[in-house]
Subunit: 164 residues, 2 copies
């Protein structure tokens, strides 16, 4: 435990945290200037995180017992490496708890997990206007995969293609 401040604990989320996770997801969406984007319900989080077929994993950062942030991730796969990796969908520290090394501790936890499980990499995305985050990510050794464009097929277009 010596590596983090003693006030800080990072623990696995449980089903009892579904409401807290949704609240943190909503706070993060507000920070990302998309407050209306969160359609997920507490039932969705319960089913997909803690049901019979988990679709994500989540850890909660607590500061003196108070929920201060979270990281939510799933396993991706690299056919070049022939190994799974971690895809970090959400990482967030509440404003009142910033500047205490909590974000770094969450990344440290995930990196430790990746090394322990023989995974090839940690991957995530960042909004291109979020310069403080980009600088932090570069400071911990992350690199921008700049020649890859992300494509998405959703909603009507997805349904149309399914019927094609």
């Amino acid at each position: 435990m010596g590596k983090w401040p003693q006030m800080l604990q990072i623990r696995e989320a449980t089903a009892a945290d579904a409401g807290l996770i949704l609240a943190l997801v909503r706070e993060l969406a507000e920070y990302e200037r998309e407050p209306e984007a969160v359609k997920a319900t507490e039932q969705d989080i319960l089913r997909d995180g803690f049901g019979s077929r988990p679709r994500f994993h989540c850890v909660i950062a607590e500061w003196a017992g108070e929920p201060a942030g979270f990281a939510l991730f799933f396993y991706n796969y690299s056919t070049w490496e022939g190994r799974a990796g971690l895809y970090l969908e959400d990482l967030y520290v509440r404003p009142a708890f910033r500047k205490r090394g909590i974000g770094k501790a969450l990344f440290n936890h995930l990196a430790q997990r990746a090394v322990d499980e023989n995974l090839s990499r940690l991957v995530w995305q960042v909004l291109d206007w979020n310069q403080p985050a980009i600088e932090f990510y570069e400071s911990i050794g992350a690199r921008h995969a700049s020649n890859w464009m992300t494509m998405r097929l959703t909603g009507e277009a997805l349904e149309k293609l399914a019927r094609a």
Copy 2:
């Protein structure tokens, strides 16, 4: 079966396809100008695709019984949607089998799967110089998530952060 040419069949890959999948992964890496990038072995593919804890799923496209291409994917998760989605890691049609609608049929298969499983989206990445692919993806309704940058932490940097 009426939606695709009769010569074409799309089937689930099995453990017996591990060697074929690796060959297709290598051909795709050559096309992506990264022939040395594939470190995966047939054992990796067997373990991660067809072992006790599958890390990916794969379908094979056959033309008149010949392996013509493949799609390899895993489940991602959207905390905004509260639903899983499909992340398409690799999609490839061998040069000799192009211009027959096989790529479109693979996408159609994945979209159908996404709709059947109530998934929120199909996501993948494309190299920014691959204009024919980008145009094809746009023609089937995909959109470029242009304000999101992909960050990666691998190798030495990942191990260093794990020890931090």
